[in-house]
């Protein structure tokens, strides 16, 4: 072992003490280089390779609500929609309004609120329109002034609105969309579906209802969408494993070459 060490020292001297990761001069640095290169390749392919694969395989897939929306939109836009089409339209818009990600963009939210408020208002029979508008305006005031969400008057007013509109949209009163209605219908946005909002709506719907999907996102693994499991769980396990393997192997190399550091 000693003669091997001396030999390596002589090689270094000959090399005038030059160190390069890619041109190792000792057995230790050669083994280390090979190990590092192997681990970096595994590391890089596992992280970036998988994301590239995900990107290559992805296809824009619309939610069913978008398909419904696209089926009825032309007639809604031209003001020629039937009652059923209006119901389908309001339901598809509600499925976007229920997404909390929207909160970050108040502009888009306003367009959607205008779309759903004006459609629901349109669906109300003529004789009930004024009462409905007043009911919504009163509820909005109550909502601003309540101290607790458990306020009895507030809860009652909310339930009344749900009972009135949910059947019009073919919704069960306990459904999420029905419960959403009192919170997204605005008295100020009922009268007209503004032309500028009509222009923006199709793009907003596409923005929130088309998703990048592939077999990697649609396969379920341990309850997760596979790609999510891979990135959130597996990669981290792999990082710990790579570190452990490196330490274990490099310790063995040091022992084998007799290059263990003294305390």
């Amino acid at each position: 072992m000693i003669s091997k060490k001396n030999k390596e020292k002589q090689v270094e001297k000959k090399n005038d003490y030059r160190i390069s990761f890619f041109k190792p001069t000792t057995a230790l640095s050669r083994t280390n280089r090979n190990l590092v290169v192997l681990l970096v390749i595994i590391w890089a392919v596992a992280i970036f390779g998988f994301q590239i694969l995900l990107r290559v395989m992805q296809k824009p897939v619309p939610e069913s609500s978008l398909k419904t929306f696209e089926k009825v939109w032309k007639n809604v836009e031209l003001g020629m929609a039937t009652q059923e089409e209006k119901v389908d339209f309001a339901n598809s818009v509600l499925s976007v309004l229920g997404k909390s990600v929207l909160i970050s963009d108040p502009g888009n939210r306003t367009v959607l609120i205008n779309a759903v408020s004006s459609t629901v208002y349109d669906l109300i029979p003529e004789e009930g329109k004024e009462i409905f508008r007043k009911e919504i305006a009163d509820f909005e005031k109550k909502k601003e002034n309540i101290r607790s969400l458990q306020d009895n008057e507030y809860l009652q007013a909310k339930a009344n609105i749900i009972d009135r509109i949910a059947p019009l949209l073919n919704l069960k009163p306990y459904s999420l969309k029905a419960k959403l209605l009192p919170l997204v219908i605005s008295a100020a946005e009922m009268e007209v579906f503004q032309p500028e909002n009509k222009e923006k709506l199709p793009n907003i719907m596409k923005l929130y209802l088309i998703h990048n999907r592939s077999v990697l996102t649609d396969t379920n693994f341990l309850g997760f969408p596979f790609h999510y499991f891979y990135t959130a769980i597996f990669l981290l396990v792999m990082f710990v494993a790579l570190c452990w393997i490196y330490c274990f192997l490099i310790d063995r190399v040091h022992t084998k070459l007799g290059t263990n550091e003294k305390s």
Partner: protein
């Protein structure tokens, strides 16, 4: 130690006796959580006092006598900042799969750190990152510049942490954000000053235990309560993610509800889990750039690198990374659970807009978890911020007192004067950070990621080439550092201008491709390339440096 245990026991007893309800999401003074928080802060100061530094070796490097597992815990605690504890879930809550770029970036960098640097850094045997750079590149100017860079990194990182401390103190005590920052900074400053790194290292081990326990308990409760596989919540929440994608219909009869009585239900929201979803406004490029920048930033952060000086041998430095990463991953596997439950529990629009950075605590509250456990969670958030801040203050003050004052300004300074200067620098930095945190310049995650990119563009290339290529010389290092700083300056100029509402030429182009939290994706490769080209064109590294590298670092 016995006295500390008794005091802690009494404080905890008082907590359980006088605990009060903490159901209001914001605004009120929460007695139970407040007592838990105060108990933990007192514990930190007592531990700091008990293990305080006696000389400069103790102050900088904890006497080089910390075990591998202990050092691993300290690495994890040092690492798990407010950004990890609070910001990680916030990022996934706000932008879904995009947030996982931070999870991968903040863990994958440790593989690079281990296989490329950890053992070699320990073998080089210096106290601080600028110490290594000044020595390896035989340049006082580089030592001073990298010391300034190290201080800037520490400050940028600390500002984010103080933001987190402010947020949690505000939540627990119902006090103003400004006062929350002032109180929090005073406490962290006190014990960092008293203890130095020896106390800090012991504190970090205790902090790790508090952080991880406080983080995990609510997860078991949430998964159990809402009928998911609760034995391993980190696996059980997979079904939660799938439920978010497919939607959970509201039941006819109320069954599972949040603390406001809303059904545990959500409309189909695939944007939460699908990659770079258009609804989040994030792209594939940003995912890759953030991951890469955070990874190389990890391997270039002075306060992380400095952790390797406190273990006895290079082998211990390597194994401490394995332990450190494992301890870190426990939290990183768990953080997405909070965001997934938070997504469903806050799905009802009645909840309103929640501060994303506090979503971990809000999720526990919305899940109607016992207020004391929520309080412990908030205290864990504060601990996470404290542990990182203390490490950063030590790294920053070391850069000032050791690398600027002792090595450049006054080489004759005795150890006592050096220690005094380190403490002066700690106070000065804490005051600057406190002031900046009060200005609320950006979100926690933004400021922290910025520090990573800065480290990735400046310190990382110098360490990488300094260790692995003896051909890298002073002029190459200066040129590489200049390029890294130039890219940083461009990115920050556009970032600050954007914040101020100004529009510079090619604003959207530069802001996108050189975003403030991922500019290292191009800055670091350019800095490395410049270093190599200039080194090749100029005179060789002196023989004694090459000899040192061969005989001490790579032997």
């Amino acid at each position: 130690m016995k006295k500390i245990s008794i005091s802690l026991l009494l404080l905890l007893l008082a907590t359980f006796l006088f605990a009060s309800n903490a159901t209001a999401l914001e605004g009120s003074f929460k007695v139970g959580p407040a007592i838990i928080l105060i108990s933990i802060l007192i514990l930190f100061v007592l531990v700091g006092l008990f293990f305080r530094a006696k000389d400069t070796t103790d102050y900088y490097a904890a006497g080089r006598g910390v075990s591998r597992v202990g050092s691993g815990m300290a690495i994890a605690s040092n690492w798990m900042s407010a950004a990890s504890f609070l910001g990680m879930a916030a990022l996934m809550y706000g932008s879904g799969y995009h947030g996982l770029a931070f999870v991968v970036g903040w863990t994958g960098g440790y593989v690079l750190l281990l296989i490329l640097m950890a053992g070699q850094i320990r073998k080089y045997g210096k106290y601080t990152a600028p110490d290594f750079i000044g020595d390896r590149y035989y340049s006082t100017g580089l030592r001073a510049t990298s010391a300034v860079v190290a201080i800037l990194i520490s400050i940028s990182y600390c500002v984010g942490q103080f933001g987190g401390i402010g947020l949690m103190f505000k939540w627990v005590m119902g006090i103003d954000y400004m006062w929350a920052v002032i109180i929090g900074s005073s406490v962290v400053l006190t014990y960092t000053l008293i203890s130095g790194m020896l106390g800090v290292t012991k504190n970090m081990q205790i902090q790790y235990v508090i952080i991880i326990i406080s983080f995990l308990i609510p997860l078991f409760i949430l998964t159990y309560k809402f009928d998911y596989f609760w034995i391993v919540p980190e696996i059980g929440y997979g079904a939660v993610v799938t439920d978010i994608v497919q939607g959970i219909p509201a039941p006819e009869t109320t069954n599972l509800v949040n603390s406001f009585g809303h059904d545990f239900a959500i409309l189909p929201s695939p944007e939460y889990a699908m990659p770079w979803d258009p609804a989040t406004g994030k792209t594939f490029f940003q995912w890759i750039a953030i991951t890469f920048s955070l990874m190389i930033g990890t391997a270039g952060l002075p306060h992380v690198i400095q952790r390797f000086y406190v273990v006895p041998k290079a082998r211990d430095a390597r194994w401490s990374v394995v332990w450190g990463l494992f301890f870190i991953c426990i939290l990183y596997w768990s953080a997405p659970v909070f965001s997934a439950f938070g997504k469903i529990l806050s799905a009802d629009p009645e909840i309103g807009v929640l501060a994303k950075d506090a979503i971990v605590v809000y999720t526990a509250q919305l899940g109607d978890i016992n207020p004391l456990i929520v309080g412990l969670l908030a205290a864990g958030g504060v601990s996470a911020a404290f542990s990182t801040v203390s490490g950063l203050l030590v790294a920053g003050s070391s850069a000032f007192s050791h690398d600027l004052y002792f090595k450049v300004i006054n080489p004759k300074a005795d150890p006592k004067t050096q220690l005094r200067m380190a403490r002066f620098a700690t106070v000065l930095m804490a005051i600057i950070v406190m002031f900046l945190a009060m200005l609320k310049l950006a979100l926690i995650g933004q400021l922290v990621a910025l520090a990573f990119s800065l480290a990735g563009c400046t310190i990382f290339p110098l360490f990488l080439l300094g260790i692995w290529w003896s051909g890298s010389n002073k002029k190459g290092a200066i040129s590489g550092l200049a390029v890294g700083l130039f890219i940083t300056a461009i990115s920050l100029t556009y970032f600050v201008a954007g914040k101020a509402g100004a529009t510079l030429p090619f604003h959207s182009f530069v802001s996108y491709w050189l975003g403030a939290w991922y500019f290292a994706w191009i800055g670091a490769p350019l800095a490395i390339l410049t270093n190599i080209i200039v080194s090749k064109l100029t005179e060789e590294t002196p023989l004694e440096i090459r000899k040192f590298l061969v005989e001490k670092v790579h032997s």
